[in-house]
Assembly symmetry: C2
């Protein structure tokens, strides 16, 4: 069995080590170093943000395996073959990482821990009132694998959690709002908005001025999905006029974020370098190997993408 690894951002050596433990007979090739291999013999491509036209050079692949949970870095290839199944990566490391990151920032804002950091710098001993987590309304944009994991963790910590998604969901501890008509009601009750949507034609630019003005004054925006969900200028305007109190941004239109981008220095914005959740090769390799074994047995893989929905 032959697999071609195509990514500039992931470590081929780690993925090779962990995949060979799971699939000892695998021939693991790396693009472009191994570009002289017979491309018709490649069974699978394991990819993240391939250059346009690379994937179509492998005519006999059984599936395109994404190294990420989102697949917008694959479907943006204008020459992507449309007859090959695409499988996204669903891994405990991603939901664990997203959960940690979202929980951290929810507590940070709920408990005013940024203010205590300033108090400490001034050696000020001041106790702020502590309110009940049940009074802190968290709103998740997106209730897929990651949104659900994050929402359930926050609900277990007694936060008041709602989620907005395309279709109605029934998840313990999470109030479900579904479809465009339900969005205003969802925004009106949200103090901390956390975006974990897939990037599709419908969700691109969804966090814009029209959406932000429907949040209560003083609310917080946390984007953990994709930079293109957000209209940067609209977020800056909502922060600067005092409507929003803070934003945490882990993803950006262009990554790395340009040194002259106003997000870096903005006093109300926290910038992190797309690290909310990284895939651990050791557990990601287990997931991918399981899916490869399923396909080799003629079964459908788990978490096959529906290209019509875009996720």
């Amino acid at each position: 069995m032959n697999l071609m690894f195509i990514s500039d951002e992931d470590r081929a050596d780690l993925w090779r080590t962990h995949l060979l433990k799971q699939l000892p007979g695998l021939n693991f090739y790396v693009w472009p170093a191994d570009s002289d291999v017979d491309k018709t013999t490649i069974d699978y491509v394991l990819v993240w943000k391939p250059a346009a036209g690379v994937i179509k050079q492998f005519p006999n692949i059984k599936a395109i395996l994404s190294l990420g949970a989102g697949i917008d870095g694959i479907t943006c290839d204008p020459e992507l073959p449309t007859d090959k199944p695409i499988v996204r990566l669903v891994d405990n490391s991603l939901s664990q990482g997203m959960t940690q990151f979202a929980v951290y920032w929810a507590i940070h804002f709920h408990r005013d821990l940024g203010k205590y950091r300033v108090f400490e710098q001034h050696k000020t001993w001041t106790q702020l009132p502590q309110s009940d987590a049940a009074e802190c309304r968290i709103g998740l944009l997106g209730l897929g694998e990651l949104g659900t994991a994050v929402g359930q963790a926050l609900a277990r910590l007694q936060f008041n959690v709602a989620g907005w998604s395309r279709s109605q969901k029934s998840i313990d501890g999470i109030t479900s709002y579904a479809g465009a008509a339900a969005l205003p009601g969802f925004l009106k009750r949200t103090d901390i908005l956390i975006c974990l949507l897939p990037l599709t034609a419908e969700t691109e630019g969804i966090i814009n001025g029209r959406l932000l003005e429907q949040l209560p004054r003083g609310s917080v925006v946390i984007n953990l999905a994709r930079g293109r969900h957000l209209v940067d200028e609209d977020l800056l305007a909502a922060l600067d006029c005092g409507h929003l109190s803070a934003a945490v941004l882990d993803v950006f239109h262009t990554e790395p974020l340009a040194p002259d981008h106003p997000f870096w220095d903005h006093p109300k914005v926290t910038v992190t370098p797309h690290i909310a959740a990284l895939t651990f090769p050791h557990s990601g390799a287990q997931y991918i190997a399981n899916n490869v074994r399923r396909m080799e047995r003629g079964e459908a893989p788990e978490n096959l993408i529906d290209l019509k929905k875009g996720y």
Copy 2:
């Protein structure tokens, strides 16, 4: 029914409002403003850090009700009557607050979020490896109400959690270490030590140089219990020689912490002003009213203190 409120740190007006909602027939007096009331008619004292000799002035009280989870601020009164039951406050707001605070700092250190804050200041786009929470070993000193709540929340977030207590415990997701003989094994496997012990003769000064040197190099100490659990100089020495990587301190020998105390400016120490968990009067009043009703019916109150154990 007559109750005397005795505390310089808690807001009498809020406690009056919330207690009267629960116990409409209650006469709520405040010390020392109401010191001319007939002291023999007082049924209960609701107290936090009363001055020495104040409580004994009320000869007919049925119980001493603590405004805090710890009762060291009451038992340190050398003239405390020994024949009156003492009841500590066990309230969801305390376990919720402690859980939030401990979870926040566990994620902070596990995910290197302090380093990302420095990266942001330098506009540096660097991704650090993300390890599995299961490889991050949290050790709770103390597995009472609060330690158990904190440990369970951390276990649900997939951290590797152990707890050390006087007697063996059986709590889902928490490895139990009990008694002095088990302390070295507990410390050896602990990357993040969180103290939630009661303050007793045995636990005073327990976080000293001998204990700290048994933690792995690079570990972190978080004290959320009482300042007197910690030997300040020993902690500073362990931080300065590089054995410990960080400390978060919410409690101190003297509070407020003196402006010239070295903790304030130490680059490895985070100081917070005893805010990990505050009591909400609205839920605390429900708990206290329930206990008063039990005692008025002749039943034992919940969470009666065992003065021999000291908690």
